[in-house]
Symmetry: C2
Subunit: 344 residues, 2 copies
């Protein structure tokens, strides 16, 4: 039986093998990816990002454990535990040290549960490469039938924002007392946040952190994908169920203590509400479209560069480069020469 059929029947080893093939961009892996693509689009993709030291990994673990519980009678929304995949992306590390460390902690809590699949990804040369690879791995997990895919990123740069754009719902995690510069990072991440979580809420300074976040939320309009109907902030808080289609989504601010499981049920509830909002407002479709178009453009860019490098004569490139190194030709002029055969 081939890998694709075996994966669709739930074989974990086939899943792991196919992911490795896709990461390495083997022709078999890419063919399988295209074959699986029509089966994608069912999973809820949840991005989890935030500054270092906020306890993202613990939060992802707790969320996973909670999704693996059988339905509680009172909630009335879920019947079976959801199948959960975790993709831990570390754009900062060419080594895999960080990712492996996080995995060891995870293994202790989640090992042996066949409804949980964990995969770490580290930097693979170019940023575009990492975002593309992550998108591809998420598609395989989606096709393999995982209901929830948690995409966790370490750090807080453009890489995280790019990877967060893969998700339907993005959680931005903060923690009290991480220093002054954290403000700058909040501003950048706020744009992609659907739900704000103040983790380590038992630490001193939690009120100040929450107040700062609330202030920035109110200042940071327009935030187009959140307030797209009216372009301004109308209210703060989670809209009540049933009125969701009539109003925009305002990111709620929640407190958690992930290491003790505190606040996790409320967080899951917010994630459910956001999913409902996305589907009822048509935003789910819009985000899917934006995500796929973005992925297409990234792949186009990679393919164009690769084709250009193949077609260009090494000697010509080398002679132009050596003129740049001698500062006889600026890099901008060199591009003209290489692409358009311009004069020097």
């Amino acid at each position: 039986m081939d890998l694709v059929a075996s994966l669709l029947e739930g074989n974990r080893l086939s899943l792991a093998r196919l992911i490795t093939q896709v990461e390495n961009r083997t022709s078999e892996g890419l063919a399988a990816l295209s074959e699986l693509f029509p089966s994608t689009g069912r999973a809820h993709l949840i991005g989890v990002t935030g500054a270092p030291g906020t306890g993202k990994s613990s939060l992802v673990n707790q969320l996973t454990l909670a999704y693996r519980q059988p339905m509680k009678e009172t909630s009335g929304r879920r019947k079976d535990p959801l199948r959960v995949a975790i993709v831990a992306v570390d754009p900062t590390s060419p080594f895999t040290g960080g990712a492996i460390l996080g995995d060891r902690v995870r293994m202790r809590d989640l090992a042996g549960d066949p409804g949980v699949f964990i995969r770490s990804m580290a930097t693979r040369g170019s940023l575009g490469g990492l975002a593309s690879a992550t998108a591809a791995v998420v598609q395989i997990l989606d096709a393999a039938g995982f209901d929830v895919i948690l995409i966790e990123t370490v750090g807080a740069g453009q890489a995280e924002v790019d990877i967060a754009r893969l998700a339907h719902t993005t959680l931005v995690i903060e923690a009290p007392g991480l220093g002054d510069e954290i403000q700058a990072i909040k501003a950048g991440l706020l744009e992609v946040a659907d739900i704000l979580v103040v983790n380590k809420a038992d630490h001193p300074g939690v009120e100040a952190t929450e107040r700062a976040l609330r202030g920035m939320l109110q200042l940071a309009h327009p935030v187009p994908h959140i307030f797209h109907h009216h372009g301004k902030l109308e209210r703060v808080g989670t809209p009540p169920v049933g009125q969701i289609d009539q109003c925009d989504w305002i990111p709620p601010i929640l407190r958690t203590v992930a290491t003790e499981g505190i606040g996790i049920p409320d967080l899951m509830d917010s994630i459910d509400r956001h999913s409902q909002y996305l589907r009822e407002s048509g935003e789910w479709q819009r985000r899917e479209a934006a995500r796929l178009e973005n992925e297409l453009n990234n792949l186009l860019l990679e393919a164009l560069m690769s084709r250009f490098r193949t077609s260009m004569q090494e000697a010509h490139y080398g002679s132009v480069l050596s003129e740049v190194l001698a500062r006889q030709l600026s890099p901008w002029q060199a591009v003209e020469v290489l692409i358009n055969g311009g004069n020097r």
Copy 2:
């Protein structure tokens, strides 16, 4: 008089205007950049990066103030104060909030000194775009005769690593007690570090941070650009002056308390030693070449995508995209169709 001539005569307003033109990629700006390019290559480019909350901005301020002091009799190395430019790059923020905040703090200490020039840059859509723009701005400042250009980045992702690659000497700043996940970030940044600084060294936990850094330094071989001759760690510490050409550069670990100016003279001394090492070992030339080739490749990529978008018929792209959105065609197949006119 045109902007280029006026800039070369030291006019600050022309400098600021030209930078804006280059950031906006006006044809006048790009022509000026090519005209100035032969005058570049004199400045010492110093990258300053590290996790949020480590006090990078304060450290950059203190370094700048120190470089602006007249030579001390005992040092015997400098006669006049050096001219210093600061480029503050914030890849995390589509808003400029963070950068502007940092600038206000700077202005208080450095305002009115004609030997100091400060420029903030925030995200401009794509990461490649920001790295290219930063490279261009640094070239202008180099041509304008600044002796030292401090390139400060907020955050710790791939963006910072890319921008750090612009520099001859990269300082990676740490601080005690920033949490567990900081380990993962250190691993990624360690690869680009020439000098490690533990700032806020008056805070508790400084020994543990320094010990962790030293441990990682010893573990993290091979670090090719640092240990390129032998491929393994031979000793830890700054090599003595005079023996520099016979051994590799081992990143020293220094303690500072930037807010009080503590440790700044030692840091400047290490920067001087690194500059001397780069020149004596031939590494300066190698880094210049790597940097320029990288810039050329980034510009090529941007130009290829732009040319492709111009040449492609919108309708064709749109129809292929809509097949992707309907999940009839995978993004990988779509790239084949768009670039090679492949079958569907």
